[in-house]
Amino acid sequence: MEPEKRMDKRIRVDLNLEQNPISPFESLSEEVLFLILDLLNSNPLDRKSFSLVSRSFYKLESCHRRWLTPLRLDLLPSILTRYSSISHLNLTLCSRLTDVTLASIASLLSSSLRSINLSGSRSYTHKGIECLAEKCFNLEEIDVSIRVDLGDEVAAAIGKMVKMERVNMGRCKKVTDLGIGCIAAGCPNLKLLCVKGCVGVTDLGVKLVAVKCRKLQSLDVSFTMITKKCLPAIMQLPNLEEFCMTGCLGIDNKAFVNLKQGCNSLQALDMSNCEHMTDSGVLSILQKCPNLYHLNLASCSSVNVSILSGLKSMCKLGSIKLDGCKVTASGLKSLSNSCISLKELSLSKCPGVTDEGISVIMAKHKDLVKLDVTCCRYITDESLSAITSSCTSLVSLRMESCTKLSSEGFRLIGQHCPKLEELDLTDNDLDDEGLRSLANCHNLVSLKIGICLRITDNGLIPIGQSCPRLRELDLYRAIGITDKGVSAIADGCPHLEMINMAYCTNISDESLKFLSKCSKLCIVEIRGCLQVSSVGISVIAAGCRLLSKLDVKKCCEVNDAAMFSLARYSHNLCQIHLSYCSVTDAGLLALACLGSLRNVTMLHLSGVSPKGLATALLMCHGLTKVKMHSSFKSSIPRALIEHVESRGCSFHWMYKPFQVDFESSELWKQQSHDLFVE
């Protein structure tokens, strides 16, 4: 359909040209063209097409573009000279980013740059950041997260950016209070700070931030060593809306009970994994932060929800996560009584959730939008009928591994929840009848029906016919699905972005041919689909140009031909799993030419020699993570490995025995359930 449409456009343009000898594009004013450009956001290729229309269009597009996410650094200087008014630069795809590059970026973009994302990029040091601080004085946002080796110097360099508003330093483990202090003292306009996982940060640094940066709106101090000492200062921040302190083991009840002043502006509080929090602390928070809307208490194992009854109906809480907490029916009752405006509720992995509890909640909260009851293994169809009868406006329902539910219950979902957009029924006893009824949910965007062994094409075809908005489909180990069902999905769901057909052993190249029509498809998992060959992969590669992740593990028929196609078409491919494929050195070398490739897993490739592997590693500049069999470790020159590592690649040497044949999905499911029972 898509190519035909494009043809239509072209013909129309040609017609116009015949009627009017002067180029019709010249008559369009810049304003109009800018407006058009403003709307071209959905597909990056649209902008490319636009700029190819004419010289003036090319120029206009260069002026108009504000966001840039380069795949490779090679051409960065020339790209930046073309796009001189880039304000948001995302360099997360460029793993090897040196100070030299940063210096060039700083001098080329200088004052126009407002946001830069260096998350995960390696090789740069604080000197590169200093270049940015010096020249890009309008910089408002920086992300230097996941640089475990970066220390306080980087923070000090960021502290020199006076206009800085948003700083993400997540997992910069070497950053200490001194660095945070530099940011606090140097960035008075700071609105967002994330020091998640910066284990060197203590109360002193956080306190200084709270004292100095009064405009702070969002603060993430997860997994740091903070204690109650810094909380009074944080709670006095006048604009704080979001506060995340996941896994802060230094925080206990006293921290909040003794707090004199709560934060009126606070809307979202994440205290998941704070193991020392208990009821009284939570109660005290809710009393002191009257405007709290989101509360995350996941894995706070000592919190008992029944304490919330003390709150009466004062509570404005709209979203509460109690994953893994002790939840009882009475607790849920008091929760439903106290949180009158609840919209989102997550009870995943709460073993105490029963039909009674769910019924109580549902009776009170009819406008619930999101519900997560993953792994609540004791709920039955009774709960489902309570949910579906009262919460007809449910948008998201996750009920993975609720094994006591029957197809009768799933039918109720289809009948009563037409607004559902996200549905997770993984590992349930879903059958075709139930699946067919889900076709009533026309708005479905994400459907996960993995490990539902009973479903077949008969159930899937109606979904494909009536859910045009579907983007995510998980058919993991749905062994009943064949090419017929997939073709229905491919026809009916043009927006499909992700499909997981792992271990759907009845899938063949035909399915992939159908799926190649879904031009937005970027994640394809066909692990263990033994019938799939290079033909299917080549078709996918040619049709789905946005393909970024491909898993063809154990697809033994996939050989070099598929690799050649991928190398030719899939310039966005960044992750591939090739284990057990029939790929040889040639295919690997072809693949290595893909500059975008970053993550490769290749175990048990019988056709690959150490020499070929070494050459491929050397050629593939962008690699960040390679999983290989440990037998190669000795055969690849040590110096080469070190060289590749110095480019920012990490090697994972796996030792896994070669598996000749696979157990059937039924057996696998039985085994995994047995594992759980144990």
Binding site: L76, V100, S104, E130, A156, L178, G181, A185
Partner: protein, 505 residues
């Protein structure tokens, strides 16, 4: 005065005028007998006399009295020490030293005589110039004080072995250190009485030779001065009752305590305890006692070596506080918001810290200066360990202090440790950079341009870090360290007064 004379425990015998005078003075100024604490502070105070330790001074006074007792019919109340004194051999002292002391006394007495004579002669002239008369009187008083001290110390050497016990029993010398010079009557009394005392026939022979120690007496100002804020002796009962709410830091209402003010020279004297035999000075009386053992077996007795103890029954005494002689100082008694100093040691430290040059420089950082050597030593213990530094150059020994400082001031940022910056800023970082340049194959259209740019980047980054710490020290004064009022806590050495500043200013 009269009340005090009548106090029990002191037998007023008419035979010894000297005795009477000593006792009267001592009682008037130091009504309760000295506790150990007071004794020590007193010792500190009288450091002005380079060769006379107050302890010895006192002990000599005791000895003198003892001596008097043995020679006169007069005796004190039945006293444990009197027995001991009589047991001692009469000629247990160095006659040469004694002789030289006496000579000095004689010379001094002659000087005073001529001075007083001149006052009498020029009385008519002085009536028109009262200030000059006052000066002369002060001079005379100073001389007389000196004579008394020397006399007592000389006499004290006669009976050294019993000094400790005597000392604790009789604080006779108090009044010599703290006579009230504002009270003219008393001054006159002293002037009138001391020559008589000196001319006492029993001591005439002692004052034959001159001593060469006279130079310290040539100070134009009276060496000793003290004030009693409240001229009337305070009743103990009143003292306890008087709580008018105007409490000082230690909740002492003004007037409820005696204020003493020492002179600059006294405060600054290096030693406060002196050996009566060889004249060697000591800072602590314990050290002196140890030293005295070398002068003979009689100094080795447990009694001689014992710490002078508090006299039983005299535990009630007026609270004594001290005033700084520096005019305008908050610790000066003339100051509106006068805050007295608690002990002599406080006086010494306060005066040195606040009103003296800081002559001791730290040998490590060559930046910090101190006027009290103990402060220097304390600093040197931690110097170099102040690893927490602010961008303004101020260093802190504790991270929380640094963060408190940064939180207080705008524009200050925590500075990264020097060694860290050096290591990554120049050495390794530079290598990385050159490697990058070399290894960079065609990633940029014009590598040359980038190279030059990058080199500039390195230089700038380096330039940023290196001078920071040197500039920093210059900027120190900007925060007014000199102006900090450290008096409140003279014992606590505060390396940086930022935390104190807000409170004081």
């Amino acid at each position: 005065m009269k009340q005090i004379i009548g106090e029990p425990g002191i037998d007023l015998s008419s035979d010894s005028k000297m005795d009477l005078k000593l006792t009267r003075n001592s009682e008037s100024f130091h009504k309760p007998n000295s506790s150990n604490h007071n004794l020590n502070s007193f010792n500190q105070a009288s450091q002005y006399f380079p060769n006379l330790s107050p302890t010895n001074f006192l002990s000599r006074a005791e000895n003198l009295q003892q001596n008097l007792k043995t020679k006169s019919t007069n005796s004190f109340e039945p006293n444990l020490n009197s027995g001991m004194a009589t047991q001692n051999p009469p000629l247990d002292w160095d006659p040469h030293a004694m002789l030289s002391n006496l000579s000095f006394l004689e010379q001094k007495i002659h000087e005073v005589q001529s001075l007083v004579q001149s006052i009498i002669d020029q009385q008519a002239e002085f009536s028109s110039r009262p200030s000059e008369l006052a000066t002369r009187q002060q001079l005379a008083t100073a001389d007389l004080t000196c004579i008394i001290i020397q006399l007592i110390s000389t006499a004290g050497s006669l009976l050294p072995s019993i000094k400790n016990t005597l000392l604790s029993n009789n604080p006779a010398l108090r009044q010599l250190v703290n006579p009230d010079f504002n009270n003219n009557l008393k001054c006159e009394g002293l002037i009138r009485n001391f020559p008589e005392t000196a001319r006492n026939s029993e001591y005439e022979d002692l004052l034959r030779n001159l001593d060469n120690e006279a130079d310290w007496m040539k100070e134009p100002n009276p060496p000793l001065q003290s004030d009693i804020v409240d001229a009337n002796p305070i009743d103990e009962h009143d003292l306890k009752e008087s709580d008018d709410g105007d409490a000082e830091r230690e909740h002492l209402p003004p007037g409820s305590y005696i204020v003493l003010q020492l002179e600059k020279e006294e405060i600054l004297a290096p030693h406060t305890h002196f050996c009566v035999i060889c004249g060697k000075g000591f800072k602590r009386d314990a050290n002196l006692r140890m030293h005295m053992r070398g002068h003979g077996d009689e100094y080795k007795t447990p009694a001689a070596l014992a710490k002078p103890s508090k006299e039983p029954g005299s535990d009630v005494h007026p609270v004594t506080r001290y005033s700084c002689p520096f005019a305008g100082c908050k610790r000066n008694k003339e100051h509106k918001k006068f805050q007295p100093l608690k002990t002599i040691l406080c006086v010494k430290n306060h005066y040195k810290r606040s009103h003296c040059d800081k002559s001791y420089t730290c040998s490590r950082c060559h930046a910090k200066k101190f006027s009290v050597i103990a402060d220097l030593k304390t600093h040197e213990k931690h110097c170099g360990r102040d690893k927490w530094q602010c961008s303004c150059g101020t260093t802190f020994s504790r991270k929380d202090k640094l963060f408190g400082h940064v939180a207080l001031f705008q524009g200050h940022t925590p500075a990264l440790p020097m060694d860290e910056v050096k290591a990554s800023g120049s050495g390794q970082g530079n290598d990385d950079m050159t490697e990058d340049l070399g290894g960079y194959n065609g990633n940029f259209a014009s590598e040359e341009c980038l190279t030059s740019m990058d080199v500039k980047g390195i230089d700038e980054s380096r330039a940023y870090f290196s001078p920071m710490n040197f500039d920093g020290f210059g900027a120190l004064d900007e925060f007014g360290r000199g102006g900090f009022d450290l008096e409140d806590n003279p014992f606590a050495f505060i390396p940086s007064g930022f935390s104190q500043r807000s409170g004081d200013s």
